[in-house]
């Protein structure tokens, strides 16, 4: 399973996103606001999910803003930083 596929699956499971299958989430879909519909506090959950499922810690939250844009950006960050 690719990082993107696993990411979509854990987002749906851990964030309780209803009525959505992993393959329905486009890689470039915005995660927050319109798009997947996550809200600001879900960013906290995202940070935890990435650490829990991929062993990747986001050290600088402010500098890392762009990685929270989409599955594409999140997956790229995970692949670049996982040990």
């Amino acid at each position: 399973m690719s990082v993107k596929e696993k990411l979509k699956q854990v987002l749906i499971e851990d964030l309780n996103i209803e009525d959505v299958e992993p393959d329905e989430i486009a890689d470039d879909l915005a995660l927050f606001g319109e798009g997947l519909g996550l809200d600001s506090l879900d960013a906290v959950e995202l940070v935890i999910i990435i650490q829990k499922h991929f062993g990747v810690e986001i050290k600088d939250m402010v500098e890392s803003r762009p990685i929270f844009e989409s599955i594409n950006t999140l997956a790229a960050y995970i692949e670049a930083n996982k040990s």
């Binding site: 309780n16 996103i17 329905e24 519909g37 809200d39 506090l41 935890i48 402010v62």
Partner: protein
């Protein structure tokens, strides 16, 4: 596509404003009096100004949302007197805040209770979340936290055109705290998470929703339901940072007391559902209710927090 977090159940926008009801020249008059005659001179003008404003039905109505719950048996004259006392208490706090900025922090005698407890929590290195409310004078409280050797970050929203000055602005000095704007990216959540990961102090307000913030839970408060933010409890669960209620009240003329109240420990990994955080928001509401019993005129929320919701 829907997200199952039960939003929109309690997200009626709260109609509060942080903007002063006074005009710029009225503020300047008080600042001039403080410079020329100190606190007492400003208080003399304040008594008259507060009496005038309390005569206005619109002002008394703003007081009545809280006062009618705190003093349900009060008759008309008592309601008027209570409104006057509440407005006067707020006025004195604002004068004292300007006093600290203009003439220096040594003009007030501020006693801090719980200093060692706070230092121990900071030393644990998980960050500390200070939950404040619109009570007493949180800026006086913040001014006595200079012994803290880690940065203090405040989540505060300032409205456009607000002429009310923070205490450090009177002296033209730099802001002693880092400000996190809730209107920033993702409501400032990433910055809040960052400062806690660095082991710093984060101060947030626990009694009002900010702007269009949807992250609120309904809790029981003074016989009705109010919506309060739960972001502090969520951050605490995610980072392991303890939550400390910071309470301040004016004791007498130039004397304030700051109390580092009980610590609220939120378990780790409570997940996404807002209902998981309700017990901790309710625990904080209990602390606030006790405060209102002890200091009934130093609770400064002049809007309908309850919005006609009934308690359980």
């Amino acid at each position: 596509m829907s997200v199952n977090n039960e939003e929109a159940t309690s997200t009626v926008k709260q109609r509060w404003t942080s903007r002063s009801i006074g005009s710029s020249w009225q503020h300047q008059s008080f600042y001039l009096l403080i410079r020329c005659g100190g606190q007492q001179a400003a208080y003399l003008l304040l008594y008259c100004v507060v009496f005038y404003y309390t005569l206005l039905p619109s002002i008394r109505r703003k007081c009545s949302f809280y006062l009618s719950r705190r003093f349900p048996q009060a008759g008309r004259w008592q309601q008027f007197l209570n409104s006057y006392r509440m407005n006067l208490a707020l006025g004195k706090v604002l004068v004292d805040r300007a006093l600290v900025g203009i003439l220096g922090a040594d003009r007030l005698d501020v006693k801090l209770h719980g200093k060692q407890e706070l230092m121990d929590l900071i030393a644990a290195g998980k960050g500390v979340i200070l939950v404040n409310s619109h009570i007493g004078c949180w800026q006086v409280a913040a001014s006595v936290l200079d012994f803290v050797d880690t940065p203090i970050n405040l989540l505060i929203q300032r409205e456009e055109g607000d002429i009310d000055r923070h205490h450090f602005e009177h002296s033209g000095g730099e802001c002693p705290y880092r400000i996190i704007d809730p209107r920033g990216y993702l409501g400032g959540v990433m910055e809040m998470l960052q400062v806690l990961k660095r082991g710093e102090v984060l101060s947030v307000m626990g009694d009002r929703m900010l702007g269009n913030d949807k992250n609120g839970v309904d809790i029981n408060f003074m016989g009705g339901k109010v919506t309060v933010p739960f972001s502090a409890y969520k951050l605490a669960s995610a980072t392991g940072a303890p939550i400390v209620a910071l309470l301040s009240h004016k004791v007498s003329g130039n004397s304030y007391a700051i109390k580092i109240s009980s610590t609220i420990n939120v378990p780790a990994n409570l997940g996404r559902g807002k209902e998981n955080f309700t017990p901790y928001a309710q625990e904080y509401a209990g602390i606030l209710e006790k405060y209102c019993e002890e200091h009934p005129f130093q609770f400064f929320n002049f809007f309908d927090m309850w919005q006609n919701k009934s308690a359980d």
